[in-house]
């Protein structure tokens, strides 16, 4: 056992040792602080075992911010390496590990959980519901995501990181990559994928079955709509990933021949499966982002969303098309002209509904009364920036031209323009917009805007040159180049931009701390003069049951209309009724720990550990099945409701 640890703990890379030490110190510090302030019980009952969708959402967001930090450090290391030619800052192997973890973390452990976090916080409130359909599963979703992410993340200090790219192409990831790195990738994604799938099911049922009375589908807020459509994509796309990961795990651990060079395996099958999931995946992250922008823009343009029905229609069309375009990720695989032509057309067709959405946002701004809050400015920054990502996507969709763009920096620039200007801007916009709902106070606007300018200008300075680097023939994923390539100047500019983004992020994080200390506490539930039901709670931070009385909906922009009617009649004689709520759950946490144990066992082929973990997981399921009757929940008494409704801040 000791040998095993000694062999795998990475102690020869100064960067990693530094990380080792700081992780250790942080952990010790945390444990000490929790013990000193006697917070263990609080942590357990208020957070770890909570089934409250708002708290689960906040945990998702905290985890996502941590991952954004890790992924961002990866990014800065890569930019540092590429700034000048023939740089020896990182070795080729180290560079490869870093871009692999960067890509995987940013998409699966940053963008997804950030959005899932916002969905968790907001969607039940927007629907006028007390919680999601399956609060118990929701807790399991979070913890299996979390332990999947942990499993993936420890690779760099223990055993070595995956190094075959986030696309993890075979046969490189099988025959070309000895060591546990790829196993970490396979198992980490597998475990967190379980959580994602459950969340998808959970939200479909919540949205279809648990809307407030009167809220027809056409009166449902846009963010809930995008969540619904996204959840459907998740339900159909994630099993593809599950199977692909499982097959490759078998290839690596049990000698099967799915994607291998030997024994009749087919390396192209992995690419197909990966992108059959992977392309829907990019829409899984962009659609909720669209939903966030729709909410923010409507709120601060003080207007109802333009073209609501065509917005929904284009959502549906996009989600449908997203399953029909995967081949555009490998036009260069030698498909016939006819095949490439068909996939070119389906790919470019996605630009049509996307374009409709952009114009509808412009239509929403038109004849509005636009307030330049920080959240709104992120949404406004999104439109002109994201559209660059969109049009370059169309350029990439032209297969004959893609033979030139493929695998070069033009592609890299494209997807960062969509993922950062689309998804990350949306995460920030949503975070700031719903911040008072989560924490009872707004974020500081001045610091927020400062962060915005650093980040958006830095972003463009970082990635605009990369389109040109693509035209200059610089391939992606190379760890260095020579002066004669002529790529130096643009790379220097790009790195400067990256530093700007880093500063922007730090200011944003500092703003969390600053606002916590200085911001004025909200006294109502309606921080921004909002339009949808999440702003209808009486307290700034909604109590765990959300609504003392479930609101009735008669229009789109429900809360906006309730407010206009309320001007006439003053609400006085509300009679409360006891509210039934589900109780906390500890099995999901335990089960996720066991997932981690089993996963770790598989990564290192420690069969006893994998088997023990597996048995433990089954035992948890049996326990759940036999004891579900005891999970009766509890009633919140009228007195308690009355008290909570009168405190301004809610439970914060």
């Amino acid at each position: 056992m000791f040998d095993f640890i000694k062999e795998n703990l990475i102690l020869d890379e100064p960067l990693i040792v530094g990380a080792n030490v700081s992780i250790l110190l942080t952990l010790i510090g945390l444990i000490f602080a929790l013990t000193y302030y006697k917070k263990w019980k609080w942590l357990w009952t208020e957070w770890i075992t909570t089934v409250d969708h708002k708290k689960i959402g906040i945990m998702y967001i905290i985890a996502a911010l941590l991952m954004l930090f890790r992924g961002g450090v990866d990014a800065l290391l890569m930019r540092a390496q590429l700034t000048v030619p023939n740089n020896e800052f990182l070795s080729s192997q180290h560079y490869n590990e870093i871009f692999t973890t960067h890509g995987t973390i940013m998409i699966l452990f940053m963008a997804m959980p950030f959005l899932l976090g916002l969905m968790n916080v907001v969607v039940p409130l927007q629907l006028g519901a007390r919680d999601v359909a399956y609060p118990y599963l929701n807790n399991l979703s979070f913890w299996s995501f979390f332990f999947g992410a942990i499993l993936f993340n420890i690779s760099f200090v223990f055993g070595g990181s995956p190094d075959a790219g986030w696309t993890n192409y075979a046969p490189l990831a099988i025959e070309g990559s000895p060591g546990p790195g790829i196993n970490y990738y396979l198992l980490g994604l597998q475990i967190s994928g379980i959580g994602t799938l459950l969340t998808g099911i959970n939200f479909i049922v919540t949205i279809i079955k648990m809307r407030a009375p009167g809220m027809t589908l056409l009166r449902m807020p846009m963010f809930s709509w995008t969540t619904l459509i996204t959840s459907f994509i998740i339900v159909f796309a994630f099993p593809i990933l599950t199977v692909s990961l499982a097959l490759m795990t078998f290839d690596r651990l049990f000698g099967t021949h799915f994607f291998t060079l030997t024994g009749g395996g087919n390396v192209m099958l992995w690419s197909n499966f990966f992108w059959l999931w992977g392309h829907p995946e990019v829409y899984i992250v962009i659609l909720p982002a669209f939903g966030i922008f729709s909410e923010v823009i409507a709120t601060f343009a003080r207007k109802t969303l333009f073209g609501f029905k065509s917005m929904i229609l284009s959502l549906v069309v996009i989600s449908f098309l997203s399953f029909l375009v995967w081949v555009h990720h490998f036009f260069t695989m030698g498909g016939s002209a006819a095949v490439n032509n068909v996939f070119s057309i389906t790919t470019m067709a996605i630009a049509i509904p996307t374009g409709i959405k952009i114009f509808n946002w412009l239509g929403t701004l038109y004849k509005g009364r636009i307030q330049f809050t920080t959240a709104m400015m992120w949404a406004l920054a999104f439109i002109p920036t994201f559209i660059i990502g969109g049009v370059t996507g169309v350029m990439l969709g032209m297969a004959a031209a893609d033979f030139q763009y493929h695998n070069n920096y033009f592609l890299v620039a494209h997807f960062h323009y969509t993922l950062i200007a689309g998804v990350v801007f949306a995460c920030f916009a949503g975070f700031i917009y719903w911040y008072p709902k989560m924490f009872g106070h707004k974020m500081n606007e001045r610091l927020g805007k400062l962060a915005l300018w650093f980040f958006t200008i830095g972003f463009n300075v970082c990635f605009l040159p990369q389109f040109l680097l693509g035209f200059a023939g610089m391939p992606r994923r190379v760890y260095t180049y020579v002066p004669e390539d002529g790529w130096t100047a643009l790379n220097v500019v790009s790195t400067i931009g990256a530093i700007g983004m880093g500063i922007g992020f730090l200011i944003l994080v500092y703003n969390v701390n600053y606002s916590w200390r200085h911001a004025k506490r909200e006294t109502t539930g309606d921080a921004w003069n909002g339009r949808t039901l999440e702003w209808a709670t009486t307290t700034a931070v909604p109590p765990h049951y959300n609504f003392a009385v479930i609101p009735e909906v008669s229009e789109i922009d429900a809360f906006w209309h309730i407010k206009q009617q309320k001007k006439e009649m003053k609400e006085e004689s509300i009679s409360y009724e006891p509210i039934h709520m589900p109780s906390n759950a500890s099995t999901p946490f335990l089960m996720s720990v066991l997932f981690f144990v089993a996963g770790f066992g598989l990564v290192f082929a420690l069969w006893w550990m994998a088997v023990l973990g597996g048995i433990g997981i089954l035992a948890c399921m049996v326990v759940r099945s036999t004891s579900s009757y005891r999970d009766k929940g509890y009633y919140v008494s009228v007195d308690e409701i009355r008290e909570l409704e009168q405190s301004n801040q809610g439970e914060a």
Binding site: P171, T304, S344, I352, V391, M395, F471, G473, R477
Partner: protein
């Protein structure tokens, strides 16, 4: 005090950055937009054609955006008549902005389809010449070129006559690689057990950078080759010279090429096609690696250096 200066500061920073980037772009050679052969030219024309459309879209949206955001900005002298909170759509407008992108997509699809079919054929300009066939095989982390007719094999460089169509038969011994000479034409994957055809042609003599652009592990960055276009006579001389003087390629030497490492340029007067066809045999390199004790799969060993 900050109020009035700040927007200008931001605008200035943005424009300076944009200016610097453009200036730098003009100074670096955007080789994809400066092709030296008919294949690259087809692609460049298509790229430029699409860029015009895209610029038009960007400009229209930017103007609309700037106009709307500045006109409807809430401010002290905001004209309340401009504010119509209940305006929720316009079928006419929505149809317009469905049709416009549709038309653009059609306008882009047609030349794209034409180009896709054209790229599967040898270049038009040299229809009368019989294409020279060269097998290009990627093996971690080198490129192996075999001239079956001439019975020549080279490593990490390929000589071709200018103004003559070449048919590359691209494959790989191990990882999935991509064969790319940016200034001559777009790329195609080389995959073990399969062969992809790619026509290329250089219109001017010269040396062009070629490489593997698909990620294949530690040595991928250095998996480059020289693509040398010679004048017809020069090329023929080189072929003669090589056939007469270069050593033969024996199996032992070739096996060494299957190990994952980078190597220098090499020239032989016989090809590996005599003992292995990577286009059908995807397991060959793995067997060799096993024979030489190179670790393929496993979980104990961490990493090289």
């Amino acid at each position: 005090m900050f109020k009035n200066r700040k927007p200008w500061l931001i605008v200035t920073i943005s424009f300076i950055s944009l200016f610097v980037i453009t200036a730098l772009a003009l100074r670096s050679d955007l080789i994809i937009l400066d092709p030296k052969g008919p294949i690259g030219a087809i692609q460049k024309d298509l790229i430029m054609y699409s860029i015009y459309f895209m610029l038009a879209i960007l400009i229209i949206v930017y103007i609309l955006f700037a106009y709307i955001v500045s006109k409807y900005r809430d401010r002290n002298n905001f004209n309340a008549k401009d504010y119509q909170p209940d305006m929720h759509g316009s079928t006419k407008l929505e149809i317009v902005w469905t049709i416009i992108p549709l038309v653009i997509v059609i306008a882009l699809s047609i030349p794209n389809a034409k180009a896709l079919y054209a790229l599967k054929e040898p270049p038009q300009s040299t229809m009368n010449k019989e294409p020279i066939i060269i097998h290009a095989t990627a093996a971690d982390w080198k490129w192996i070129f075999s001239y079956p007719e001439e019975n020549i094999e080279t490593v990490n460089y390929v000589n071709v006559p200018e103004n003559h169509p070449i048919l590359f038969k691209v494959t790989a011994a191990d990882s999935m690689a991509s064969f790319w000479v940016p200034q001559i034409g777009g790329q195609i994957y080389g995959m073990p057990g399969m062969v992809n055809d790619l026509y290329l042609q250089a219109d001017e003599p010269g040396e062009y950078n070629g490489r593997n652009s698909n990620f294949t592990g530690a040595g991928m960055t250095h998996q480059q080759f020289r693509f040398v276009a010679l004048e017809e006579v020069e090329y023929n001389n080189w072929v003669k010279e090589t056939q007469d003087h270069a050593p033969k390629l024996d199996e032992g030497t070739y096996e060494k090429l299957m190990l994952p490492e980078t190597v220098d340029e090499k020239t032989f007067s016989s090809t590996h096609l005599a003992f292995v066809d990577h286009g059908t045999d995807s397991a060959y390199a793995m067997k060799i690696r096993e024979k030489y004790g190179v670790e393929i799969k496993g979980i104990k060993v961490r990493r090289g250096e």
